[in-house]
């Protein structure tokens, strides 16, 4: 298993797309943090960039990569190795290289230009989002036979989490605004890793006050350490769930 992880990882860090991804992230973070003396604002912009690009790029790149390496996977499966090991090794290799790209691209400039708790939160939520959306890509890979369909599913899934989910949540909030729905909203929010990451990050910045403005529960609950643990465990849940599912499906899959 280690050998496979190593092979995938080494293959990927030489990959041009990953390199370009790293360079673009680095350029964005340096320019955003360098231009503005107000680091809080720079972090906010970086957060928006991360929340928009990291999920889409992770899931698309991972899906394409998995489908492209299908022959390699089939070759490996001809060897006496367990199916789930092959799959997990592929995932670990891919997810670690994408996370490394994120950490180099965003993390290093942040450590140099804006060290602090908020920066740490941005990097850790970014890495978690990378892990989550690579994990979704894995699920898509095992569910679909066809590459085009897989890519389509990846696009739909990422769009669902970036926009559609929030839209539905907004509709929900609007239609039930007469009821005390704060708890419910927090519950629903847990089903979208991007929203969780956004709220976690916002609560580390001073704009958090806006979220607690009308005595809303979000800041009181999610801003507390229990809330942070809650959010992080849900994010981890979103890494593990698609992975487990894909392992289950892959075990019985007719290749």
């Amino acid at each position: 298993m280690k050998t496979i992880v190593k092979y995938v990882f080494l293959d990927l860090i030489r990959n041009k797309t990953i390199l370009v991804y790293t360079v673009i992230l680095a350029a964005l973070s340096i320019s955003v943090l360098g231009f503005d003396s107000n680091t809080s604002k720079g972090l906010l912009s970086l957060m928006n960039i991360s929340l928009l690009f990291v999920p889409i790029i992770s899931i698309l790149f991972a899906t394409i990569y998995f489908f492209n390496s299908i022959e390699f996977i089939e070759l490996l499966l001809a060897q006496p190795i367990k199916r789930q090991k092959v799959l997990l090794a592929e995932y670990i290799g891919l997810a670690s290289s994408l996370s490394l790209a994120y950490m180099v691209g965003i993390g290093v400039p942040l450590v140099v230009l804006a060290p602090g708790a908020a920066s740490f939160m941005l990097v850790s939520t970014g890495v978690l989002l990378t892990l989550i959306f690579s994990s979704f890509a894995m699920l898509i890979f095992v569910l679909f036979k066809d590459k085009t369909k897989g890519i389509g599913a990846a696009i739909i899934l990422s769009l669902f989490f970036t926009i559609l989910f929030d839209g539905l949540l907004m509709v929900f909030i609007y239609s039930f605004s007469d009821y005390p729905i704060d708890e419910v909203v927090v519950g629903i929010l847990s089903f979208n890793p991007i929203d969780l990451a956004r709220v976690l990050m916002l609560l580390k910045l001073d704009v958090a006050v806006l979220m607690g403005y009308s005595g809303a529960l979000f800041k009181k609950f999610l801003g507390s350490s229990a809330g942070t643990i809650y959010s992080f465990s849900f994010l981890l849940f979103w890494v593990v769930l698609p992975l487990l599912l894909s392992v289950r499906v892959f075990k019985r899959k007719d290749l």
């Binding site: 906010l44 605004s177 607690g212 403005y213 009308s214």
Partner: protein, 413 residues
């Protein structure tokens, strides 16, 4: 004519006499009830010089016109028993003392210095520390409270008092004081024709400055930072607010300036920086807001629809999360010639004024005003898109609330 002449002659005589008949000077050294006995032995117009040392006295009633001054480090300590100085004579001056530790009572407002039914009283250059109330003016006129340091460590609104508290007064001047850690920094109730100038009011539990039923007052060049809320002006008419700084009033319900049921005010040349809400207006009529800078606030302004006939001209709005929020669609205020950093219109005729109007109320601001829970979607991609769409085709936002002549460049104020 002859009457006037007599009056002038009389006035000159009085002035002459007052110069000649300078009262005697009494020196006070530390001792049991030293200040009280000095006051008892003094007569109208005397000077009392208090020498360096600590005096444990309370309920010192100054019933004659005296000039009381501290020499060196004079501490008058009330030992948390009762009030300390009560000034009831016109023209009394109290200066250069450290006055500390009044009692705390829920029955009586305990003040370090109370001015009671008196005129022309001066309280200056004192350090007024750890008291329930600092300076308490109760029905005074033409009094001066100047350059005092008024500090306390209030923890709850119930058990604390105000730094400078005025209940009924006119022609007062409150200048150059530094006030911190009280309930309200300065509290004015039924105060007219007074000026509040160059004070620094910070870290107070409730408001930096609080007006109730106070008319025709001016406050200028004060600094209000880190208070529960900066300034509250309520039920008052014709209050002028110029050149003040409202800063870092940041919290779950913190305002830079809160206006409620006021008419004919002027807000000019102030700086609102990093407040949760820069200006909040409710039932504010004919308020003219111009040449202010709103910077890094959560909401620069929240204008409730009950406010009318106001004007907002030549203000700078820079990096506020929301520029303007309102709770209705009716707009009875005018916005003109402001600089909005979020304005993305164009200026083809190069007259430095944007060719298309700016709508300061974003869709998301409207939504969160109606449904505060929607704040959970703050900074999400969805709300950005909605705002952009709404800017192009306003349908939900109050389309009458707009600046038809937004300036292209930041105004120099």
């Amino acid at each position: 004519m002859p009457i006037t002449g007599t009056k002038i002659l009389f006035a000159f005589t009085a002035l002459f006499l007052s110069c000649v008949c300078m009262g005697k000077t009494i020196r006070v050294r530390p001792g049991n009830n030293a200040i009280k006995s000095a006051i008892a032995s003094a007569t109208h117009g005397d000077t009392i010089i208090i020498s360096e040392g600590t005096y444990y006295e309370h309920d010192v009633h100054v019933t004659k016109k005296l000039f009381i001054a501290g020499e060196g480090n004079v501490v008058v300590d009330g030992q948390r028993k009762s009030e300390i100085f009560v000034l009831v004579a016109n023209g009394t001056v109290l200066q250069g003392l450290t006055i500390q530790n009044t009692g705390i009572s829920s029955m009586q407002d305990m003040a370090a210095v109370r001015i009671q039914n008196a005129q022309y009283v001066t309280v200056r250059n004192n350090k007024i520390l750890d008291n329930t109330y600092g300076v308490y003016v109760q029905n005074g006129s033409n009094c001066l409270v100047k350059d005092n340091i008024i500090r306390s460590g209030a923890v709850s609104e119930q058990n604390s008092g105000n730094g400078v508290h005025v209940w009924r007064g006119e022609h007062l001047r409150i200048e150059g004081n530094r006030i911190a850690g009280h309930r309200d920094g300065i509290y004015l109730e039924f105060v007219i024709n007074s000026t509040i100038h160059r004070n620094i009011s910070e870290k107070n539990l409730r408001y930096g400055l609080h007006f109730m039923f106070s008319h025709d007052d001016i406050y200028s060049k004060n600094v209000f930072t880190r208070n529960g809320s900066g300034v509250a002006v309520m039920f008052s008419n014709r209050v002028t607010m110029t050149g003040n700084v409202f800063k870092n009033n940041w919290g779950d319900a913190a305002y830079g300036l809160l206006l409620k049921e006021i008419t004919d005010g002027t807000i000019e040349g102030n700086l609102f920086e990093r407040n949760t809400v820069g200006v909040y207006m409710e039932g504010a009529t004919r308020i003219h807001t111009s040449k202010n800078t709103f910077q890094n606030n959560g909401w620069a302004m929240r204008i409730q629809a009950s406010s009318s006939n106001g004007s907002f001209t030549e203000n700078n709005f820079i990096s506020n999360s929301f520029d303007v929020a309102t709770n209705g669609t009716m707009v009875m205020n005018v916005f003109k010639n402001n600089y909005w950093d979020k304005y993305d219109g164009y200026d083809l005729d190069k007259d430095m004024i944007g060719d298309i109007p700016y709508y300061p109320v974003s869709l998301y601001a409207v939504v969160t005003e109606k449904v505060p829970t929607a704040m959970i979607l703050y900074r999400s991609f969805l709300t950005d898109i909605l705002d952009k769409v709404e800017k192009v085709m306003p349908s939900i936002i109050p389309d009458q609330l707009k600046d038809d002549n937004p300036v292209m460049k930041k105004l120099r104020l």
